[in-house]
Every structure is written in structure tokens, then in C-alpha cells.
């Protein structure tokens, strides 16, 4: 995590004095962006750098769904299965993804390419059904669009 400290120092300057605790979420996000997940050593080093209780960082890592402490596949397929998406075919799309890749939600493919998750509303209900792949929203999915999307993920 140490190579990220110059960035963290710049980030610290954006916040008012006394806001060190607030740095936990953005620093964790940046660490995860960099490594792909947050390692135990990162937790230790971030605790020392920020001076917050270590338990606070551990709690944050387990509370928020976007943070992870283990690596996942190269492409994180996050399919919304909340109401509006379900009303526009999310269930059958999910089945299609499962069949095409051969994994179920919560699993990672053997070749490490895909991790599949079902997620709650992503705020894209008007373009349902949709899926988030890593950071990108893929909206108005149809069987064809889905196939095309999956084929393009190397």
C-alpha cells in the first residue's frame, strides 16, 4: 500500500482538518482498485497510516458489499435482480449467463475469467434488465446483447 501514500497525502489535503477517519473509504477503494482486493497487510498499513482503530477498517471491509478481501475473477458480472429488472427479464438473463459460463452467483469460473454476483438495485431501472461488469453499466440487455457482451470479455 506504501506506493499509494503520495496519493493519499493529496487526498488528505482535500478534507478539512480532523477528518482523518473519513479517509478510510476512499483509501480502501484505491487500494482495492490497485491490488484487486484488500490484503491483510493493507489493513495493517492503513491502520498505521491513518491512525484509526484497526477494528474500524475491518468493520468497513465487511459491511460494504463493494469491498473484498480476496481476489475475484477478471470480469465481475454483477446482475441486478431487484423488482424492475426482474419485471423486464432479469431472471432468464441470469439463467442464460449461468449456462454460458457454467457458474452460479457467488462463484468464479475455473479459468479465473468471470465472477458472477446477483446484486440489488443499481439505479438503472429505466434501462432494465442490466448488468454491471467491473465498473461499467451494460443496460437494455437482450439475449443477443448479452452474448455479444460476454464474447467481448477476454
Amino acid at each position: 500500500m506504501k506506493h499509494l501514500i503520495p496519493e493519499f497525502e493529496k487526498l488528505r489535503e482535500r478534507f478539512p482538518a480532523g477528518f482523518e477517519s473519513s479517509l478510510v473509504l476512499p483509501c480502501v477503494r484505491r487500494i482495492q482498485e490497485d491490488r484487486g482486493y484488500v490484503a491483510d497487510s493493507d489493513v495493517e498499513e492503513l491502520t498505521a497510516y491513518l491512525g484509526v482503530p484497526r477494528i474500524q477498517i475491518e468493520e468497513v471491509l465487511s459491511f460494504y458489499t463493494q469491498f473484498r478481501r480476496k481476489p475475484i475473477g477478471r470480469w465481475h458480472l454483477q446482475m441486478c435482480h431487484n423488482v424492475s429488472c426482474s419485471m423486464r427479464g432479469a431472471e432468464s438473463l441470469l439463467t442464460r449467463v449461468e449456462r454460458k459460463i457454467g457458474i452460479r452467483p457467488g462463484e468464479t469460473s475455473q479459468d479465473g475469467r468471470y465472477t458472477l454476483s446477483v446484486v440489488e438495485c443499481l439505479g438503472s431501472c429505466g434501462t432494465a434488465p442490466m448488468m454491471m461488469v467491473n465498473d461499467t453499466y451494460h443496460e437494455n440487455l437482450t439475449d443477443e446483447k448479452l452474448d455479444e457482451l460476454l464474447a467481448g470479455l477476454k
Binding site: 473509504l25 484509526v52 459491511f63 463493494q66 424492475s84 423486464r88 439505479g123 461499467t136
Partner: protein
């Protein structure tokens, strides 16, 4: 077009969100006017006079919330735009963040001026990547143009902004849960008292407003409260962005002048129901708002008072249209799963109640429902109403009883026959 427009007054293009085009539309004139011609208290007075109601869910008068802030009390004040938008069916703040981020920024500057805020924040849900990048880009543009920083427009006013990303928690959309998250901790809401406007972020006076609520401020200051009140209804001034999804031909974000007829909106602007089917019911404003049937809404206008009178609410502005042939039991199960997943777990009734509601619905949908289950659902909802630290517990109960009240027969059928009357269908795939 559903009435007069205040937001969607320009064509959305690949560059319409830029500072240059925003300025060309009259952007940052409100800021100029506020800083150079008005006192902070004048701004608050104008906002109060406009009658602007919160657009996050509660429709609480924005001016009234602001008035709790004591100017010159010697301590820092904070303003936070709630861009956590996690309510299912709601995606209208996203429209502002992606397509008109400078409107929010200018509004936040004007609001910060009024509230004596030196540091303001936008708390944006972690999953919103494109909206975040648009907003962050706009912030950079604004800093470069001197709209943020010190001595803004040469008036001595100083204001800085930080865009803070969440990380996947619906409960962080609750104002005090948001503060906990912004303080770098797990998103546990707080008991009130004290109100957040008295002790908020790091125990300082804090105003948390929805993105759309704040985005109205620039227009109110630039054109005046009277002009704002001239739009909409006396009890619901202005317009609302409504996110429409579900079984309509044209889902999306619409700006609706408050008071506009509901059925007209659905049939004309939203293109009517898929495959010409009849409306079964509508979730008007977020999934905890009570569902209304086609008959209920036939003569209603889209205003706060009309919906309150009908026993529901415009809430978050997330409207979900449900066609005939949809299984409401299967639908409710999704909602109960959602609340269970999102409960922070702090307080007894919500922590256990949301899990219980979910498990009962799972069982009913699996064909193992029992006659007592319906009473249990009501019991759990009743004792989550007004007993919890935040509104999540109550919301789960309202979502549940709202659907049970209107569609109890479907639940009784499912329990008795161990299957859905509609084959568990949620889609609208063809004419009836």
C-alpha cells in the same frame, strides 16, 4: 411533455454537461446574484418562500430544515448532497449527475453561502461510476473557473467540495447512515435527538439534502421564488423528476410539473403499458410507498397532496408500473429479500424483522406457506412501524402491508394452492 419544465430544458448531447454549455444556458448566474446581491439570510428566505419540498422521499420543506442552522455560531457547518440513490425503481438523481452536474454544483455553492458552509460534500453511491466521473469532471472544471476555492467571484466567499464515494449499502442513503459512512465507518444510522442540523457530521450542524432538492436552488435564486411557485400546485410547487420503470413502453426519467394528471402521463409520456395490457397497480414513489391500483389512480394528479390523500406518497420519485398478470407474491418476495439484505442490523425489530419477513415470503413462494403467515407479516410490519432507529424497518413493513392490503387474495391463493395464481410471473410479455 408532462407540463412545464425547469430541468429538462435542453437537449442532452455528448457535451451538454460541460461547463461551457452550462454557462451558455444561464449557468452560474444564480451564484453571481447570491454572492453579490444577497445576504446569506436572503437566500434562505427565498428558498423558504419558494415552498420547495425535499425530493428524496419525505417531502420535508427544505427551507424549514435550513432554518435550524444558526448562522455565526462559531462552529463549522456542513452541507451534503445525498446522491446515494439506492431506492429500487429510482434513478432520477443519476440524470442530474450525468447530464447536468453543474446545476448541482452551482446550487450547492449558493446553498453553502446561505448556510455558512465552508466544506460541502456529495455522497455518491459507489456503483455510480459514470455519474461519478461526470461529477468529478465538473468539479474540476468548476475549480478551474474559480467557482470553488477561496475568494469566489472576488467576494471573499470560500467553499470547497469533496465528492465522496460509497461502497454498496442502501442504508447509507439514510441521512445519519450517510454521515457514519462519510466519517469512514460502517453505515449505522443514529437515533434522534439530536437532529443532524444540530449535531451531524463529526457532531457539527449538517444539512443533508437530496440531489434533486438541491438542484432546484440555483433556479429559485436566479429566477426568484415566485417564478418557482408559479409552476406546479400551491401545495406542491415546482416540478419533480420521476423515474418510471416496469411494464411501460417508454421507461426513463421524466420531468413532471406537479399536478399533472397521472393517467395522461402514463399513457402519453410513458407510452402506455406494454402490449396494451391493463394496469394492475403502480408503485408511486419508491418501494415503500403504498401501491395504488389502476382504479385508485384514475383521477389522481401527480402531486404530493393528491398522493398523500390517497394514502400513498410520491416519495423518492421512483415509479414502477405493474401490468395485469404479474404475481404480487413473487414481487413482494423480492422486496423483502432486498430489505433483509440491506438492514444494517443495529436495532432489534429491523434486524430480526426483515429476516423474518424474507423467510416467510421465501416459504410462501416455495409453496410452503401457512395460513398464519399473513397475520405474521402484518405483525412484523406493525412492530417495525415507529420502533426503529431509522426508516428502513418501517419501509419494509409499509412495502409489505401496502401490497398485502390490496392483494391479500393472491397470497391466500398461493398459500392454499401452494402455487402462484400467475405462475410466479413478473414480466409483461404479450397481450392478455
Amino acid at each position: 411533455m408532462p407540463g412545464r419544465q425547469l430541468f429538462m430544458t435542453f437537449p442532452v448531447t455528448a457535451t451538454s454537461h460541460s461547463l461551457a454549455e452550462y454557462r451558455a444556458r444561464g449557468g452560474y448566474l444564480a451564484l453571481e446574484k447570491a454572492l453579490k446581491q444577497m445576504k446569506p439570510s436572503d437566500v434562505t428566505k427565498e428558498v423558504t418562500a419558494s415552498g420547495l419540498q425535499g425530493r428524496g422521499g419525505a417531502a420535508f420543506a427544505v427551507g424549514r430544515k435550513w432554518q435550524v442552522i444558526v448562522p455565526d455560531d462559531g462552529q463549522p457547518h456542513y452541507l451534503i448532497a445525498n446522491a446515494d440513490e439506492g431506492e429500487p425503481g429510482t434513478f432520477k438523481d443519476r440524470w442530474i449527475l450525468e447530464n447536468n452536474p453543474h446545476l448541482l454544483l452551482e446550487s450547492m455553492l449558493v446553498s453553502s453561502y446561505a448556510l455558512g458552509v465552508r466544506n460541502c460534500f456529495v455522497y455518491i453511491r459507489g456503483e455510480f461510476d459514470l455519474p461519478y466521473r461526470r461529477l468529478a469532471g465538473a468539479v474540476e472544471e468548476a475549480y478551474e473557473a474559480g467557482y470553488f476555492g477561496t475568494d469566489i467571484l472576488g467576494t471573499g466567499f470560500a467553499c470547497d467540495i469533496v465528492v465522496y464515494r460509497g461502497a454498496g449499502a442502501y442504508v447509507a442513503g439514510e441521512a445519519s447512515g450517510l454521515l457514519a459512512s462519510l466519517e469512514g465507518k460502517k453505515s449505522y444510522p443514529r437515533n434522534r435527538p439530536p437532529r443532524l442540523t444540530v449535531k451531524g457530521l463529526y457532531q457539527r450542524p449538517t444539512v443533508v439534502n437530496n440531489v434533486e432538492s438541491l438542484s432546484n436552488i440555483a433556479g429559485i435564486i436566479r429566477d426568484g421564488a415566485a417564478a418557482f411557485k408559479a409552476v406546479g400546485t400551491p401545495k406542491s410547487p415546482g416540478t419533480r423528476l420521476l423515474s418510471v420503470s416496469g411494464h411501460v413502453n417508454r421507461p426513463g426519467v421524466f420531468e413532471v410539473e406537479l399536478g399533472y394528471p397521472w393517467m395522461k402521463f402514463l399513457e402519453e409520456d410513458c407510452g402506455g403499458i406494454l402490449h396494451g395490457r391493463a394496469i394492475k397497480c403502480v408503485v408511486p414513489g419508491g418501494v415503500s410507498s403504498k401501491v395504488l391500483t389502476g382504479a385508485d389512480i384514475a383521477n389522481l394528479n401527480l402531486s404530493h397532496e393528491d398522493l398523500w390523500d390517497a394514502g400513498s406518497t410520491l416519495g423518492s420519485g421512483g415509479m414502477i408500473v405493474i401490468a395485469e398478470g404479474t404475481c404480487m407474491v413473487t414481487l413482494l418476495r423480492i422486496l423483502m429479500r432486498f430489505y433483509h439484505h440491506e438492514s444494517c442490523g443495529q436495532c432489534t425489530p429491523c434486524r430480526h424483522g426483515t429476516g423474518w419477513l424474507h423467510r416467510i415470503m421465501d416459504r410462501i413462494v416455495a409453496g410452503q406457506g401457512r395460513p398464519e403467515d399473513i397475520e405474521r407479516l402484518y405483525y412484523i410490519s406493525k412492530f417495525n412501524d415507529g420502533t426503529t432507529i431509522c426508516g428502513l424497518g418501517d419501509a419494509a413493513g409499509y412495502a409489505c402491508t401496502g401490497i398485502l392490503d390490496k392483494f391479500r387474495d393472491e397470497f391466500e391463493y398461493y398459500i392454499e394452492h401452494k402455487r402462484s395464481r400467475f405462475d410466479g410471473n413478473l414480466e409483461c410479455l404479450r397481450s392478455s
